[in-house]
């Protein structure tokens, strides 16, 4: 009887430790992903600004298309970032 209580307590304790570990890993990954997506959004924003400067420097038939590509890229990165935050 004594032994059973001890083993149940040990199991519950181990489960609790495991849960803590999983929470720790989850939080760590969450912060890591937020940082990664955040940095990527900054990169996408800089890329958009750079495309704007490039477009002003040299205008071709595809300039508008390239600029649109930059905006789509920025929009996509923001959308994924928000989706991650809400998930």
């Amino acid at each position: 009887m004594f032994n059973d209580t001890t083993s149940t307590g040990f199991i519950l304790g181990t489960m609790s430790d495991n849960q803590d570990l999983l929470n720790l890993i989850d939080n760590f990954l969450k912060v890591l992903f937020i940082l990664a997506f955040g940095m990527y959004v900054i990169f996408a924003f800089i890329a958009t600004r750079q495309i704007h400067i490039m477009k002003n420097t040299l205008q071709t038939k595809y300039s508008t298309f390239v600029q649109l590509l930059g905006y789509v890229h920025l929009g996509l990165s923001i959308l994924i970032f928000i989706t991650f935050l809400l998930s």
């Binding site: 990954l29 990664a36 990527y40 990169f43 890329a47 420097t57 205008q59 590509l69 890229h73 998930s87």
Partner: protein
């Protein structure tokens, strides 16, 4: 009273800005058709191409980019990066990552590859060498935060040399054209451009035309 001076009759000296049609003095332009494709690496008299410091009557005669074959290393690297998630799925630890992060990890990776692809394309597309009927211009965008534009008047060009080295350059007719100038930037290098012989010929034709303009007193 006799009229000594009448300002209304004063004639201002007229600058002759007559610009010849490039076809009249350039064999290269005569022999090759006008480029309509904005992705051309060798674009003669490209349509719809304008650069920011372009003068009103200045015409872009040649727009050069690095030959597309020189970008093959990027295509290869991007192809390899696309395969990484597949290779990662073969490793057992990847399955231990919780489902949500598994999905967003993949999404992030492909987004990163998209960013690298966009950056590589932009770097190729906007790193151009421009030859106009007045100047040579080198536009450099080495990274997202570095921009450098150098220009030299054709009058200042002293020497033009084209170099082709290696098997790939010989097969695809690629080369580096070096232009020595007396301007602030003493050397321009058009790296890995297609048809370097034609670039050199065109530049020499333009230099001759500049000489002719000076001799005939045409001011441009």
């Amino acid at each position: 009273m006799p009229e000594i001076f009448d300002a209304s009759e004063k004639q201002t000296p007229v600058k002759t800005t007559s610009r010849k049609d490039p076809k009249s003095y350039s064999q290269v332009i005569r022999d090759n058709s006008q480029s309509d494709n904005p992705l051309d690496a060798f674009a003669l008299r490209p349509t719809s191409v304008v650069f920011d410091s372009q003068l009103e009557d200045e015409e872009v005669l040649l727009l050069l980019r690095q030959h597309p074959i020189t970008q093959i290393k990027w295509i290869f690297i991007i192809g390899m990066l696309l395969l990484v998630p597949f290779l990662l799925s073969l490793v057992s630890f990847w399955d231990m990552v919780p489902g949500k992060y598994h999905f967003f990890g993949l999404v992030f990776w492909y987004l990163l590859v998209l960013g690298i692809t966009l950056e590589a394309f932009l770097s190729w597309f906007y790193n151009v060498y421009i030859v106009t009927d007045e100047r040579v211009i080198d536009v450099d965008f080495l990274s997202l935060i570095y921009k450098n534009i150098s220009a030299a008047k054709l009058d200042n060009i002293e020497d033009v040399t084209a170099t082709t080295t290696g098997a790939i350059q010989s097969v695809f007719n690629i080369g580096t054209v070096k232009i020595q100038t007396a301007a602030e930037v003493t050397e321009f290098e058009f790296e890995n451009v297609p048809q370097p012989d034609k670039v050199t010929t065109l530049l020499n034709e333009l230099l001759l035309e500049e000489e002719r303009e000076k001799m005939e007193g045409r001011v441009n």
